[in-house]
């Protein structure tokens, strides 16, 4: 037994204004330099290909250098802000996310700009410009979260409030939402519209982390015995199961199958991370198989999706059209790809895949960058997951560990679900490819995830607050003057 009496870290106030000590971040700077160089070369490649396709002579200048310059400038500012703030946060997450965002920017600039048109105050913006706007907001959000958030008690203490807010958001979407492709996805409140599911995935991870960290000791060791069977401790699992069932139920009624799958997979993963019991996972998978079969019989949408996945060539110009075009795109791309700007020949002025910017960016990248490029992109998602799990392993308490693991896994699992859907590995479900797909809600929600992960990775972060009930009773006892 070593009685090492090292002084504890001094408690930091939630937000520090004075006494800031800048701290150099060489690794982040070096990685961001590579990101800038890569994106610049990518932009040149795009510009040269487009110029060659238009029959012009070869020019080694970027396609449109202004958006890329703005994006890289914002990254530089974010890096400098981190340096000035001087927190000891992770130095890999921001460059990895920036690379994904930059690839998204190149892709959105390259796709037909008419896919999205929005006008702000008389200014008409196309796909690439709107995406640039969202990416800039995302970089700002990441920077603010990673610098300002010093304590996680606002997440930890109000888990039921967060869960209630999430369910409320779902119900609101169900009542007032608008339909997209037969799924009720979009909520419009005044001038704002968005996909609440994206925000909901973050809220769900916060709730699960709070709940599991509170009941982890009980979940790990106690059993409910029914005859010879040893089942998990149902009284402790029930509230969480109800919450999850409610969320899944509403999501399924809304026909948002991708989100339902994502929620369920992340729920099982976090349960395993918290308890290290394989029995939970097996039980969950059995439930999943039973539930999927039930849904297959009950819902026409599920049946359609599975049938399309099983044999898209049965209806090649109707239901199976998008997935067949995606498969063709991957085939055209081959191993090395056609090069940025050389893929996706337009059919009548439109890309062959209508939802290429939201649901199928992975197929577009598969065509233009080939197997090699797509593997690199999957590698970037793996880097995000690895960093999240490292932050979780280094965390001092259960809540922070589960939160970090959950946040990283939700992004990673989402990426792999939609990538597998594009590849016809699993039935296609309409969710976004994190950070790469077009869409404000998706990009901002993932920015929240990355920002929180950065904040959690700070080694000098404020120690966790005492459990709430404890504090209240302790104050009472101190007032009485101790128990004799």
């Amino acid at each position: 037994m070593t009685n090492a009496a090292a002084p504890a870290r001094p408690a930091l106030p939630p937000i520090v204004f004075g006494g800031i000590r800048p701290r150099a971040r060489w690794r982040e700077m070096w990685l961001l330099l590579i990101v800038a160089l890569t994106l610049y070369v990518g932009s040149i490649s795009l510009g040269a290909t487009e110029a060659a396709a238009a029959g012009k002579s070869l020019t080694l200048s970027p396609a449109e250098d202004q958006p890329l310059a703005i994006y890289l400038g914002a990254l530089l500012l974010a890096h400098l802000a981190q340096v000035v703030a001087g927190r000891r946060t992770d130095q890999v997450l921001l460059p990895a996310t920036a690379m994904l965002g930059g690839i998204s920017l190149l892709l959105m600039e390259r796709l037909p700009q008419s896919l999205v048109s929005q006008s702000f105050g008389g200014l008409d913006l196309g796909l690439g410009q709107v995406q640039l706007l969202w990416l800039l907001l995302a970089i700002g959000l990441i920077t603010i979260l990673s610098i300002v958030v010093r304590s996680d008690s606002w997440l930890r203490l109000y888990k039921y409030t967060w869960a209630a807010a999430g369910i409320g958001l779902l119900v609101l979407t169900f009542i007032r939402g608008e339909d997209v492709n037969g799924a009720r996805l979009i909520l419009v409140i005044g001038p704002f519209s968005g996909q609440p599911i994206e925000l909901l995935k973050v809220i769900m991870v916060v709730f699960l982390a709070g709940y599991l960290s509170e009941f982890r000791p009980l979940l790990v060791e106690q059993d409910t015995r029914v005859g010879p069977l040893r089942l998990p401790p149902l009284p402790y699992l029930a509230p969480m199961l109800v919450m999850i069932a409610l969320a899944l139920g509403i999501v399924v009624i809304q026909r948002d199958l991708g989100a339902a799958l994502l929620f369920f997979v992340v729920f099982l993963m976090l349960l395993y991370v918290a308890t290290a019991r394989a029995a939970y996972v097996v039980l969950g998978l059995l439930l999943f198989v039973a539930g999927s079969y039930l849904m297959y019989r009950l819902f026409g949408v599920v049946q359609d999706r599975v049938d399309i996945w099983w044999d898209p060539f049965k209806d090649p110009s109707g239901n199976g059209y998008q997935i067949i075009q995606a498969l063709h795109a991957f085939a055209r791309g081959g191993i090395l790809g056609t090069g940025l700007g050389a893929g996706l020949p337009l059919v009548g002025g439109q890309p062959p895949i209508p939802a290429v910017h939201t649901d199928f960016p992975f197929a577009a990248l598969g065509e233009e960058l080939g197997l090699v490029g797509v593997l690199a992109i999957l590698g970037l998602y793996l880097v995000v997951i690895e960093r999240g799990l490292r932050i979780a392993a280094a965390a001092a308490d259960d809540f922070r560990a589960l939160l970090a693991a959950g946040l990283a896994l939700v992004v990673g699992v989402q990426a792999f679900i939609i990538a597998a859907g594009n590849l016809k590995l699993i039935p296609l479900t309409g969710i976004t490819l994190p950070v790469i797909s077009y869409g404000g809600s998706s990009i901002l929600a993932n920015a929240v995830v990355v920002g929180l992960l950065l904040a959690l990775s700070d080694k000098g972060v404020e120690p966790p607050p005492p459990p709430r009930a404890g504090r209240r009773f302790a104050r009472l006892r101190d007032a009485v003057g101790g128990r004799a």
């Binding site: 890999v92 128990r483 004799a484």
Partner: protein
Amino acid sequence: MDPLILSLWLIRFAFLALLYLFLFSVVRILLRDLRVAAREPSTQLGRLVVVASPSEEPPVGSVFALDAVTTIGRDVNNSVVVEDQFVSSEHCVLTFRGRAWYVEDLGSTNGTFVNSSPVDGTAPLGFGDELQVGNARMRLERAHR
């Protein structure tokens, strides 16, 4: 070969190569981090951080590395000695069994509390939970990794 097409090819491959250069740099950093983490001894099962201690022994902020069995009490033979008038000489014992931490009250006069609810016999303990013996409060934390 047409120089135009050749240069287009070269730029394309330069982009892919740079993507992999980025991944390579990242992976090198990740590996270095992992090696540093692996070099540090990770035999620790957890740490006990003193949050409040009116008697100044142990002082607030001191950190105890925990073995699988850690005894807490006023007697000097305990692993963690708490010099407090409300602590019994053999107050409680912290044990790590398989997957989780437990605290067992050893029949102390004033009881042991986890998050301020009294421990009746043995109670499970999670990382981040607060343990109170007498007037001293201590938080169980995961070991540094």
